[in-house]
């Protein structure tokens, strides 16, 4: 007699039922939807939904459902026509403060959603989209940090009344030259004690004609710098992606100095690359009115407090090294046309510190000129610095002002978007990019589905012919295995990629192995003259340790793949490991349960259909 206890049947039944329920969401399609988020990533105001309802009602557009998901509202529509109409209406009604993005929301019924049911996420290779791996440019970050230290040390020395020969950025460190041993000791003291100057390794230079101190940024400070820069960059990238209105973007830290950005389903990949990769910022600098730029350019003698730039027309211009305001102090920017000249312009709003500094500067410099420098970091540490406008300060201003001199209104709006989203704290370089067009994604889904189905059907046929009733039982287990695997992948929120599909296909092939091992054992036992019931029992028992050993070794290999693999390899490893686990359950417990139901209860079984 081969029989399972009732609780065992129950357990199998429960697992299989749960599996079917959680695999179910994958059968539903997608609803056209709109996603509303705050432009700056703030909490959504409580009256927002009422406003949206009013606006839509006015235009006679109805949505099929709305739901709040964290910081976004999702509105589903019956068809794309309604969706597009509503998008236009809401964009007008909500203005700049909110972003209305087109989205395809899963059409999983609310009952299933309530218990956490959701379909598998399709990888970028299946639904199209952009994947970037970006790396922080630490050399530039270090150099920026040193520049800040130089400014701060100069300010501190001036505040203490110490006159220095020079404080400058030199190679990978900085160098301060002082006039006397006493000054040097005082400076050393300041460097040791001043709170804003911590994080430097300072060293007195051997006494000579001058009295010098050299300093480098210490490792710990660099690490802190790296971490904060990465954090800020992630925030900035989030803001930018938010502006693009992508549904379900992934922005994640990878390793110590990298960020992964994935924008699924995006159509205009070129524009996305521009926005994501741009490291543009603006700087406001005073024009050096005391020296002539042309002579400086000709003789190469540039005054120490200034730097030589070229303006749009290729004319040299001298700008003060000391910054008035940089992109970091910017809190708002929008594109518009200048009311007087009709030129495209960007109006800028500064934060408290920025507006105070701007006000202080402009008050003392009415009649002088101020320049706007556009800085873009290119890969490999190259920098593009354009003086985009030079204007005479007519009156003091602080918080809000306009910048003109931008080529077109498109450029103005792109620049304002970048400024709004914030500058990257340190430049990032795209070191890997994978873009998949939507048509290729669709092809991949079709081909993946087709090959899985064909492989699956071939195996089912073959098993049924080869093992008869036992083969059919194995097929049932195989099907259940596929359902359980899909349920697990859906529940874990794993992403299904093309190699993932290959993993599933391979799992099917290997899941069969467990049953083959068992059935061959049963055949052997029968051939040795054992009774059918005893053969079934011995077959399952003896095959178990073989299956366990074989699967554990494969799991070890899959686990290593998961640890060391990236992207596609990882996806393959996940499906393979999960597939091994589910196949152990269905191929051993599942088939045994069914075989027991068929043969186990009978007192006398003459022959097994195997």
């Amino acid at each position: 007699m081969n029989q399972y206890s009732v609780w065992r049947y129950l357990l199998i039944l429960i697992i299989v039922t749960v599996g079917f329920v959680y695999a179910l969401p994958n059968l539903y399609g997608k609803d056209p939807a709109l996603q509303v988020t705050s432009a700056r990533g703030f909490e959504l105001p409580s009256d927002l939904t009422a406003n949206i309802d009013d606006a839509l009602m006015l235009e006679g557009i109805s949505y099929s459902s709305k739901e709040r998901q964290g910081n976004r509202m999702l509105y589903r529509f019956a068809d794309t026509e309604d969706q597009l109409k509503a998008a236009g209406v809401l964009r007008d009604a909500l203005g700049d403060k909110f972003i209305v993005a087109l989205n395809l929301a899963h059409a999983t019924p609310s009952g299933l959603r309530a218990i956490g049911g959701k379909p598998m996420t399709l990888g970028l290779d299946l639904q199209g989209g952009v994947h970037f791996l970006m790396q922080l440019d630490m050399d530039t970050a270090r150099s920026q940090q040193l520049d800040r230290f130089v400014d701060d040390i100069r300010a501190a020395l001036r505040a203490e009344g110490i006159r220095y020969v020079s404080v400058r950025h030199e190679g990978k460190g900085l160098l301060a030259m002082l006039r006397s041993a006493e000054d040097r000791d005082r400076t050393m003291n300041i460097l040791r004690t001043d709170q804003s100057l911590q994080g430097l390794n300072i060293k007195e230079l051997a006494a000579g004609e001058t009295f010098g101190i050299s300093a480098t940024v210490n490792e710990q400070q660099l690490l802190v710098l790296q971490q904060t820069a990465l954090k800020q960059n992630i925030t900035t990238l989030r803001n930018r992606v938010n502006e693009l209105g992508v549904a379900e973007p992934v922005i994640q830290q990878q390793g110590a100095d990298r960020v992964v950005v994935q924008l699924p389903g995006i159509q205009d990949t070129v524009a996305a690359k521009k926005i994501i990769g741009a490291t543009a910022t603006l700087e406001y600098r005073a024009v050096d009115e005391n020296n002539d730029a042309f002579t400086a350019a000709q003789t190469g003698r540039i005054p120490p407090e200034s730097r030589l730039y070229m303006d749009d027309n290729g004319n040299p211009i001298l700008l003060k090294k000391r910054l008035i305001v940089s992109g970091n102090q910017l809190i708002g920017a929008s594109a518009s046309f200048d009311q007087q000249s009709g030129q495209p312009s960007v109006s800028v709003t500064l934060d408290g510190v920025g507006s105070k500094r701007m006000l202080d500067f402009t008050r003392d410099n009415v009649g002088n000129r101020m320049a706007v420098v556009y800085i873009e970091q290119k890969p490999g540490g190259r920098k593009i610095e354009d003086v985009i406008s030079v204007a005479v300060i007519r009156e003091p201003f602080g918080k809000r002002f306009q910048t003109t001199g931008i080529g077109s209104i498109q450029e103005a709006s792109q620049l304002s978007l970048l400024l709004r989203a914030g500058a990257l704290a340190a430049p990032m370089e795209i070191i890997e990019e994978r873009t998949v067009g939507p048509s290729l994604g669709a092809d991949n889904v079709a081909q993946g589905f087709k090959s899985v189905m064909i492989g699956f059907v071939l195996v089912l046929l073959f098993m049924a012919i080869y093992y008869k009733v036992f083969g059919l039982v194995a097929n049932l287990a195989l099907f259940t295995n596929l359902v359980l695997l899909i349920a697990l992948l859906s529940m874990l929120g794993a992403t299904l990629t093309m190699p993932g599909i290959a993993g599933i296909v391979l799992t099917i092939g290997m899941a069969v192995d467990a049953n083959v091992l068992i059935f061959e054992r049963i055949r052997e036992e029968l051939a040795n003259g054992n009774t059918p019931q005893a053969s079934i029992r011995a077959g399952y028992e003896k095959a178990f340790s073989t299956i366990a050993d074989a699967n554990i070794t494969t799991l070890i290999a899959a686990f290593v793949l998961f640890l060391f693999g990236t992207g596609p390899v990882k996806g393959f490893a996940v499906t393979l490991s999960l597939g091994i686990l589910t196949s152990m359950f269905t191929a051993i417990m599942g088939t045994r349960a069914v075989i027991n139901l068929i043969y186990g209860g009978k007192k006398r079984v003459r022959k097994l259909a195997i």
């Binding site: 993946g448 069969v512 050993d549």
Partner: protein, 312 residues
């Protein structure tokens, strides 16, 4: 239905000398091919830019090449799967421009001489630093997988079995890579995944056989180790054939219907499954015998089965 009508009793191990020579030739050929032809490394390892575009109708490849040359691109142009799909590969350079601009300019150059619209299907860019890392990770993954397997088999069986299993793995990896190098299939990340899957499959096969050998040593106490191994191979033969067949069925479906991207993956696995099946029988078992495995090696493991009897 059965592959094998009656109980087989093939003397596999009598051919072990021949197999040893055959395996040695395979490995020497593989290493020679790897040294002479090298692997056709894909973008994942070399770095560079790849752009796949779909044309409305099949373009003249030479025109596409000339177009790109005129635009100043040093590129390789090939069809991909169908005649309307074109892949442009641009080797890594001391890029003075970001790749974003590069791919955009290539697309612009390609669309110039075409009526209708060409469609961007795929852009891949891999920086040189990423390529090196991926290669390093791939090699590390294989080494760690081998160490993990060695330890597990040593724990469950005995060290001679570990050596046998790892020797078979090594054989499979070298020969698979040799075949890849011989037919110059593009070696990319998915192919690495395939090789690791081959490792998994071949292991599976080897372990099943070892398991039977472990079981048979106490059962046939009087027989010589060679005979025990032979019997074990014969007893697991129908299972080996059956599993290889189903796996190959599924892989053929992938190979023929899975699309161009999965082609290399499926091919590698098909080669690997065939070699893996052969190596479990000849490499792993031969190594086991050459190391002088005997019934004394497995005496204490004999009880293993007893504790498992209570399990389903």
């Amino acid at each position: 239905m059965r592959f094998l009508r009656a109980k087989t009793n093939i003397d596999f191990m009598s051919q072990s000398k021949l197999a040893l020579i055959f395996s040695s030739i395979l490995i020497v050929c593989s290493i020679t091919s790897l040294a002479l032809n090298g692997l056709n490394f894909g973008l994942d390892f070399t770095g560079g830019t790849l752009i796949e575009v779909g044309y409305p109708s099949a373009p003249e490849i030479s025109d596409v090449r000339a177009n790109l040359k005129r635009a100043g691109f040093d590129s390789i142009v090939q069809t991909f799967g169908t005649a309307t799909d074109i892949v442009v590969r641009i080797p890594p350079s001391e890029a003075t421009e970001s790749n974003a601009e590069l791919s955009t300019r290539v697309l612009a150059a390609l669309s110039e001489s075409v009526d209708g619209e060409i469609e961007m299907r795929r852009v891949e860019f891999v920086g040189p630093q990423v390529g090196d890392e991926l290669a390093e990770q791939g090699i590390l993954a294989v080494i760690y997988a081998m160490v993990g397997v060695f330890l597990y088999v040593m724990f469950r069986f005995q060290w001679r079995f570990s050596v046998g299993a790892v020797a078979a793995l090594f054989h499979d990896i070298v020969v698979s890579m040799g075949v890849l190098s011989f037919v110059q299939i593009e070696f990319n990340l998915t192919v690495v995944a395939a090789i690791l899957a081959v490792v998994g499959y071949s292991l599976n096969d080897t372990i099943v056989l070892f398991d039977r050998i472990r079981e048979n040593f106490p059962r046939y106490r009087k027989r010589q180790p060679v005979e025990v191994v032979n019997t074990s191979i014969n007893e697991t033969l129908s299972r080996t054939l059956m599993t290889s067949t189903t796996t190959l069925l599924v892989l053929s479906a992938l190979f023929y219907f899975g699309g161009e991207i999965i082609h290399g993956f499926a091919f590698t696995l098909i080669v690997g499954v065939v070699i893996g099946t052969y190596s479990s029988i000849y490499v792993a078992s031969t190594a086991l015998l050459m190391l002088g495995v005997s019934k004394f090696d497995l005496m204490e493991v004999e009880k293993e089965g007893a504790t498992l009897n209570t399990r389903p």
